[in-house]
Structure formats: structure tokens, C-alpha cells
């Protein structure tokens, strides 16, 4: 099958992850990976991002598929249940807001900047080599550390399930995927009601 430009977006995702090792402020760019899927879902009512543009999915697909780093076994039933998918989305939200709260505390001067990347919401890895001071408020850096933690954590989780199950197992419980699917469901239900009324 002919390759399209968007089949190479894994390079963008990989570059993003690498940049975070050199200057943590690049983590801000990751907001694109959050907003683009949501905008596509809200405006067009599709999961176009998952279906075409998700570089993270492509990385898992390449490593697990072409590089053969996946056992290619079925994912456990509970991991694809609505309970787990929605539960993980809620958990992700809570952790995200906690990260925003920490950012706020640094902005407000109530807390000092912590130059750590927290992996799997538990392990605090020193990351001071990627912070060289900034023109911006330390709060901006705190958000970068927090956001990069989210991105790295999801990559690690995705890699683990890639190895254990099928290459793109992450797609099954990816919070962004769950969220965009929910938006599409709501949007299409609404569209249906409108069509029925006409």
C-alpha cells in the first residue's frame, strides 16, 4: 500500500520524546497531541487522529510489528471492558488535574519548582539536566515537567502492553482514544436526532 505523508508522523512523536531529554520546555508542544484529536472529534465527528495521524500508535505498530517486539497475544477481556477504559480515563483526568494544581502552586509561589519527571505516577526521576533556566516563570517549567511525565508514562505503559499483547494494545485503553470516541458517540447521536426531526 502506498505510503502517505501521515504515515511518517511517528518521526514527530519520537522527536518529541527525544527533545524532552534535552530541554524540558519542548514538552509544551505535546499539547498539540491533546488538542488536535479533540478538535477533529468535535468538529468533524471522527477519530481521524487515531485512524491516521497518531504517531504514538505508529511507533507501537512499527516496534511491535516490523521489529517483532510483540507477542501478538489477545489483550485480556477486562482491559477492553468499558469499566476499565472509562476508569482509566477518569484516573488519567484526576492525575492530570493534580499536575495542573502543582503547576498552579509554583505559579502562585507556594511551591518550588521540582525538576523531576514522575514515571507511572510514582517514580520520581531526576531530570535537572533538561532544565537550563528560562525567560518564563518557573511555573511554565513545572507544567512542562508534569506534562512530559504524562507523555513518558503513557509511552512506557504502551510499550509494556505492546510487548505483552498486540502491538497497538495501547489504543484499546488510550484516554485520548476513549475521549474522542465518546465525543463522536455524543455528536452522532445529536446529529441523528436532528436528522430525525427534519
Amino acid at each position: 500500500m502506498k505510503k502517505r505523508w501521515y504515515d511518517y508522523l511517528w518521526i514527530v512523536e519520537l522527536t518529541y520524546l527525544v527533545l524532552g531529554f534535552f530541554n524540558i520546555l519542548f514538552a509544551w508542544l505535546g499539547l498539540l497531541f491533546f488538542f488536535i484529536p479533540l478538535i477533529i472529534a468535535a468538529v468533524r465527528g471522527t477519530k481521524g487522529y487515531c485512524n491516521r495521524y497518531c504517531g504514538r500508535g505508529q511507533i507501537f505498530g512499527l516496534l511491535g510489528g516490523r521489529f517483532g517486539l510483540s507477542r501478538k497475544k489477545d489483550i485480556p477481556r477486562w482491559m477492553k471492558s468499558k469499566w476499565f477504559r472509562y476508569g482509566f480515563l477518569i484516573f488519567f483526568f484526576i492525575m492530570f488535574f493534580q499536575m495542573l494544581w502543582n503547576t498552579y502552586l509554583v505559579f502562585a509561589g507556594a511551591q518550588d519548582l521540582r525538576q523531576v519527571v514522575t514515571l507511572l505516577w510514582t517514580f520520581k526521576l531526576p531530570w535537572n539536566w533538561a532544565y537550563h533556566g528560562t525567560l518564563f516563570h518557573p511555573g511554565a517549567a513545572q507544567f512542562a515537567f508534569g506534562f512530559y511525565s504524562v507523555m513518558l508514562t503513557s509511552t512506557v505503559l504502551g510499550l509494556v502492553t505492546m510487548v505483552l499483547f498486540k502491538p497497538r494494545s495501547w489504543c484499546v485503553y488510550c484516554p485520548m482514544g476513549t475521549m474522542t470516541q465518546l465525543i463522536c458517540k455524543a455528536k452522532n447521536r445529536k446529529d441523528h436526532t436532528v436528522t430525525e426531526q427534519n
Binding site: G45, K47, K72, I75, Q181, N188
Partner: protein
């Protein structure tokens, strides 16, 4: 005369996450994501090769025999 058994991909609608991995590998473009909600198989095009079922990260696609 032997009759060839027809096969077709069947998606479990309730568990499909609409990731689109199936659509990417289908050689006949017989499976597509419907409005970001779930994968839908075009019964006229699908020959039941099983590529989508193998790829599906949630393993919610099954290849079933089609009874005439």
C-alpha cells in the same frame, strides 16, 4: 462439485474502540471506521482474509462463515 465456503469479518460493535488499525491493513478497503464510533464491514467487498482480525488490538473481529 465442491462449493467454496464464504467467509466474512464480523465486528463486535460494543467492544470496538474505533482505532482504525483494521482499516489500515485491509487490502480491499472493505472495513472502515463509521463516524469515529466503530468499525463497519462492507459485506460485498469483504472476502474474509482475516488480516483485520489479526491486527485488531482489542481482538474484537471474528472471521465467520457465511451461510447462504
Amino acid at each position: 462439485m465442491g462449493t467454496r465456503i464464504k467467509r466474512r469479518a464480523v465486528v463486535d460493535d460494543t467492544a470496538c474502540v474505533a482505532c482504525g488499525c483494521c482499516a489500515k491493513v485491509c487490502p480491499l478497503s472493505a472495513i472502515q471506521i463509521w463516524r469515529g464510533v466503530r468499525a463497519v464491514v462492507n459485506a460485498d467487498k469483504c472476502v474474509g482474509c482475516g488480516k483485520c482480525a489479526k491486527e485488531c488490538p482489542a481482538s474484537v473481529i471474528e472471521i465467520q462463515e457465511v451461510r447462504p
